[in-house]
């Protein structure tokens, strides 16, 4: 028989002296400390004074019977568990049951048997110690949980400041991010690039928690850094994918949709990997919602060499919208466990009023979930196409290393066919130009001019694509498809940039000359068109260039164009 290792304090309460003495002797022989009580009231007093660890309690006692004593002991506040053994010469089953119902943990019938009593004390002491251990573990878990919640809250604060940021307050963006969830891993980022486009990224990290916040940091950093520097959508995505693939453990990834809203061209370029269909809704019942389907693996799944950054382009008129959501919306359940689903979503979008769709969808989702809001995991973003002049989100600002910058310099930079296929030179060139202090205030304009000149040289010059396609129905979509084909088939050709800049304290100039390997075009037609102010020859791009530059000159056969910016009073003759 295993003995209780540590001596404990045992309260023996019995008004019958013979029984009490007998029992006390047995307990004392086991090495425990005995506290005797002569009746129920005495038992309660001794219980409070001596804090016994086990109570042996006679059922029938004067003043206060054992049942009442047990009830009062159980009512003592606190977490301490004190086992009670009823002592009884009662033999009827229901009387014995009453002992247990009154709060006893066991009973002991007369005549007392020291072997059985010892076994019972041992068993109950084991139970008591188990209870103590459980209590300690419970307290530890509670403390741990509290710490975890505190840390999660801190992580969420950091996450929110990183993950839901940028120009989300812009007039043309509406977004919903569930306020209840400590962490749902959803990320919404928005920023304008130097050309005035707006990049928006909706991401949904797997592993709602720390992995999400760990992934969100570099994602946001890359997004903002590269968008501001003028990198293309594909460049930003490739870098995001590379970084997430590097840092996230296998099996963790980020489903994402990233879009480039080009307000000048009225297009949206979309890359989507792993998120549910986004929808384009037309202003004033301009037809049914158009699904924009996920074509790619989520970010962070495959290595750079396998990553596919190809995009789709859609044309949007002013007032048309793109609505994106994470699977939380579609998978939100009602009381019956039924998911919201894409059918409900499409039905709302097809009601025809694009302007109200976002609110209608939000209300429908909340109504669907009813009291199930604890599952709240709704993230939606809607971006509206507007006239660029109405966009209130700020353009990137430039901070350069020096106050004076380069004052007399030139740069020649030529890209061959494989560079044209793989490399976007604009962020690099923009970076150089922004070292000139006077150009920084016109950073957006210069980037736009640079990218228009480059696009014209590459698309119409080197690849010989006609911009006429753009003006037909689905023109942009067709155009971009052809462009991707032509680019991948490119085997020769070049685009050369030449920059010349002079500056003094009173003023200066920058000349950007771009020459391509294409056949050029009949410049006289262009000049005639400009004389008639139709401004329509080369599409919106060229008329924009005329507006933005201080001067624009075509040389030779038209494959050689020179744009000039002047400041102060010191320009070239």
């Amino acid at each position: 028989m295993a003995l209780v290792s540590e001596p404990i304090r045992v309260l023996v309460a019995d008004d019958n002296r013979t029984d009490r003495t007998l029992l006390s002797r047995i307990v004392a022989r086991e090495g425990h400390r005995v506290i005797e009580a002569i009746d129920g009231v005495d038992a309660i007093e001794k219980f409070h004074a001596e804090r016994p660890q086990i109570v042996l309690l006679d059922a029938l006692m004067p003043r206060l019977d054992g049942f009442e004593v047990a009830r009062r002991i159980r009512e003592v506040p606190g977490d301490t568990f004190v086992p009670i053994i009823f002592l009884t010469s009662l033999t009827e089953a229901d009387e014995l049951a009453r002992c247990l119902l009154a709060g006893g943990d066991d009973f002991m019938s007369k005549p007392y048997n020291s072997v059985i009593l010892r076994a019972k004390i041992t068993a109950l002491e084991r139970m008591r110690q188990l209870h103590v251990t459980m209590q300690q573990q419970r307290d530890e878990i509670a403390r741990y949980n509290e710490r975890l919640l505190r840390e999660q809250q801190a992580a969420k604060d950091i996450f929110d400041s990183v993950a839901h940021s940028g120009c989300l307050a812009a007039r043309n963006i509406r977004h919903l991010i569930s306020p209840l969830a400590v962490f749902n891993g959803d990320v919404v980022l928005a920023a304008r690039n130097p050309a005035g486009s707006m990049y928006v990224l909706l991401g949904d990290f797997t592993g709602h928690g720390l992995t999400a916040s760990i992934g969100a940091m570099p994602l946001a950093e890359i997004f903002y850094g590269m968008t501001q520097k003028g990198f293309l959508l594909g460049d930003v995505l490739r870098e995001c994918n590379r970084k997430l693939k590097d840092i996230l453990p296998v099996g963790y990834f980020c489903c994402a949709t990233m879009v480039d809203f080009n307000f000048q061209k009225g297009t949206v370029e979309v890359w989507s990997g792993g998120l549910p269909d986004a929808y384009i809704t037309r202003r004033d019942g301009g037809g049914p919602a158009v699904p924009v389907v996920s074509r790619h693996l989520p970010l962070g799944v495959v290595s750079s060499s396998r990553f596919d950054a190809s995009t789709e382009v859609f044309e949007l008129a002013d007032g048309d919208r793109l609505l994106m959501c994470t699977d939380g919306l579609l998978e939100s359940r009602n009381d019956a466990g039924e998911m919201f689903g894409s059918d409900r979503m499409i039905a709302i979008l097809d009601r025809g009023c694009a302007a109200d769709a976002f609110e209608a969808l939000k209300e429908a989702a909340y109504a669907h979930m009813g009291e199930q809001l604890r599952e709240d995991d709704l993230t939606m973003v809607e971006v509206t196409m507007l006239d660029e002049r109405e966009i209130d989100a700020p353009m990137p600002t430039y901070v350069a290393s020096g106050q004076i910058g380069p004052r007399d310099w030139s740069l020649s930079f030529e890209l061959g066919p494989s560079s044209l296929q793989e490399f976007n030179p604009l962020p690099l060139l923009q970076h150089v130009l922004m070292e000139v202090p006077a150009l920084r205030v016109r950073g957006g304009v210069i980037f736009t001019v640079l990218s228009e000149l480059y696009t014209n040289a590459l698309d119409h010059g080197v690849m010989g694509l006609s911009s006429v396609v753009k003006s037909t129905a689905n023109g942009f979509t067709d155009y971009y498809r052809r462009r991707v084909e032509a680019l991948s088939a490119l085997v020769d050709g070049y685009v050369r940039f030449e920059f010349t800049s002079r500056a003094s304290d009173s003023g200066g100039y920058l000349k950007i000359r771009v020459r391509d390997s294409g056949p050029g075009f009949d410049v006289s037609i262009l000049q005639a068109a400009r004389a008639k102010l139709t401004g329509a020859y080369h599409g919106r791009g060229l008329s924009l260039l005329y507006q933005l530059c201080d001067s624009l000159t075509f040389h030779g056969v038209g494959n050689d164009v020179e744009a000039e910016f002047r400041w102060g009073g010191d320009g070239p003759a």
């Binding site: 019958n16 013979t18 007998l22 029938l60 007369k110 005549p111």
Partner: protein, 96 residues
């Protein structure tokens, strides 16, 4: 058990004598509740010390006490005293 046992027998003798008197008193006062309680207490001690006949007598008295009729218990008082003395004597003979 040696000395402890002797001491226990002394406790039994004095305490139980008190209980026998209390039972007598309860009968005289026609106090059924007291009768039941005291005989129950004595019964417990008897069971513990192995005094089976005395315990049986106590149980009978306790049952009568529960029924509320003290009068019926009177005839058991003499056998109770008699048996108690016999038990006491027997226990004494076990003492060293």
């Amino acid at each position: 058990m040696g000395e402890e046992f002797s001491a226990l027998i002394d406790v039994f003798r004095s305490d139980s004598r008190r209980l026998v008197e209390a039972i007598d008193e309860a009968m005289a006062q026609n106090d059924a509740e007291k009768l039941r309680h005291q005989s129950h207490g004595l019964k417990g001690a008897c069971i513990n010390l192995g005094a089976a006949d005395l315990a049986a007598l106590c149980a009978d008295i306790e049952a009568i006490g529960r029924s509320g009729d003290c009068g019926a218990a009177r005839q058991l008082l003499a056998p109770l005293r008699c048996e108690f003395e016999a038990v006491s004597a027997a226990l004494d003979s076990l003492k060293i």
